[in-house]
């Protein structure tokens, strides 16, 4: 079984700050990490490999050269091989353009490796954009079925049972391979790399795929110009509120006052 895991390197959004004047990210001192949801996809692939060592895991990411660090991290955790998709022509792509480029690159990787992927795993969404669009869009480009919000799965032959986080309950979805599955947080933790794997990953050669390698790609569908959506403006959310603080002798008295105020205003 050949599994492709799509990964995005993201700034750790719990650490980021926005410059209030320029509305740009202050990247200084903010670590770049493997998108957490993508690590859940990788862990699920690794679990299939635990059960069946013949499972082959390839990880792919689109972005600048620095993404190699994140790819190496995935190699250290579980992946067998990694590809970097990088080209200036791809910069500024929205989700539709990104998924188009990825789908073209997936076909290229399949040609290079001499097999087709049985499953494409993605994180449900990336924590910087939070769109959850690229996975389903890859599925549509490739004409594959999709299951989103997966927490774990089992594979038997060509059929796959996916436990999905539904709107109310978890549910089991049946889908045949090949398919695209996007993962949300499972009940188990993502494994840490062993020292041995880490050292091997550091030495690994990661091939880059650029626009010239993708002979069939339509560059008018890539990058900023090939994207149907554009960012018109950005702003920092401001909260304009008037707060009433209750500062009686004791906090218990403050609580009583607060309850009275809420009651008088018919809020409770």
């Amino acid at each position: 079984m050949n599994i492709l895991v799509c990964m995005k390197q993201v700034p750790d959004t719990t650490e980021i700050k926005i410059d209030p004047v320029t509305h740009t990210l202050i990247r200084e001192g903010v670590p770049n990490i493997v998108n957490p949801y993508d690590t859940y996809a990788l862990e699920n692939a690794a679990r299939l490999k635990d059960a069946d060592p013949s499972v082959n895991i390839v990880v792919v990411s689109m972005g600048p050269e620095q993404v190699r660090t994140a790819l190496k991290e995935c190699l250290a955790i579980a992946a067998d091989k990694a590809y970097l998709i990088t080209d200036r022509a791809f910069g500024g792509s929205d989700t539709l353009a990104t998924s188009y480029i990825l789908s073209q690159a997936i076909r290229k990787i399949e040609a290079l490796e001499g097999y087709t992927f049985d499953a494409i795993f993605c994180g449900k969404q990336a924590i910087d954009g939070d769109t959850a669009q690229v996975g389903p869009e890859i599925a549509e480009h490739l004409g594959l079925p999709q299951v989103t919000y997966a927490v774990e799965l089992s594979v038997e032959g060509q059929s796959c049972k996916v436990i999905q986080q539904g709107p109310e309950y978890r549910q089991v979805i049946a889908v045949d391979l090949p398919c695209v599955i996007t993962f949300t947080q499972p009940d188990f933790d993502v494994r840490y790399p062993t020292i041995k794997r880490k050292m091997k990953a550091n030495r690994a050669k990661i091939d880059a795929i650029t626009a010239v390698d993708l002979s069939e790609i339509d560059l008018t569908r890539c990058g900023l110009k090939g994207s149907p959506t554009h960012v018109k403006s950005t702003f920092v959310p401001v909260h304009d509120n008037h707060i009433v603080m209750f500062e009686e002798e004791t906090v218990e008295e403050s609580a009583v006052k607060l309850a009275d105020v809420l009651n008088d205003a018919h809020i409770i």
Partner: protein
Amino acid sequence: MEAKTKDLWVFIETKEDGSARNVGLELLTPGRTLARDQGGDLVAVVIGFGADAAIAAAACQGADKVIVVDGVEYQHYNTDAYAGAMTHLIEKYGPTTLLIGATSYGRDLGPRLSCRLGSGLTADCTGLAINPESGIMEWTRPAFGGNLMATIVCPDGRPQIGTVRPGVFKKQPPVEGAAEIIREDFHMPEEEIRTHLLEVIQEAAEEIVDLEGAEIIISGGRGVGGPEGFEPLKEMAEVLGATVGASRAAVDSGWIPYAHQVGQTGKTVAPKLYVACGISGAIQHLAGMSGSDTIVAINKDPEAPIFEVANYGIVGNLFDVVPALTAEIKKLKN
């Protein structure tokens, strides 16, 4: 593709019993204004099985038309049937704009449609407006965990599509409407449906947490200190008929299930009253609750950012404040 009308569509997601999920009905509220600004009709699109309840609900929320696709293959959401039916409808009628609730199913359907139609999709919007000059929709959404708001446009692709988080808009009281009901006989061949629901895992221990429908939410964060720290919050919630919410910090610590989580990676809520206990107010949390009518913050740290969005605040230990608050509310209620 080209739009054939100036209509604005709202996708009404249905449950398996044929009733509407709230978010679709909520979206008819901004939909009315936006359709008018756009110069077209407001159309509710109901896909489901035996969906009369959803049709009736949409018709009395101000929709000019309700387009219905009804069939057993739509009883449980599945990507292929829903994307197929929606694509058929869009190609036939050519709306200018499509709003979809950003539920797990809406977020599964939206990108599939956008890609098939080659049009732009903006996810998880919290603000919608038609630009008076260009006539195109301006979709506003949080990015980078709510640290930044971005306004996105889709100048050319039609329909312009956006998903909108549940709880951002409020459902209006029902009014008598004379919506035109259009039934479309569209069925998806069984062999083209590639995913199937096998089983629903109902965890007996986990009750359904209806944060989005709650009028009052009592929420706890890191300050509650552990699972047992939620007890005083639960007591207050019981007295008020409220739902218990939580910040990501509390959920990630394993003190309370994910179903209770409010914020960027949890639920967006806009109740009448939100009581934040021991929640510092990380931007990700604020992104999910700052639309609440009244916010009360209880926190030991006077510098906690939660006080920047709150209407009422008490600086103090929640284990002193909350029981006193509950006792006084009990007294008032009697």
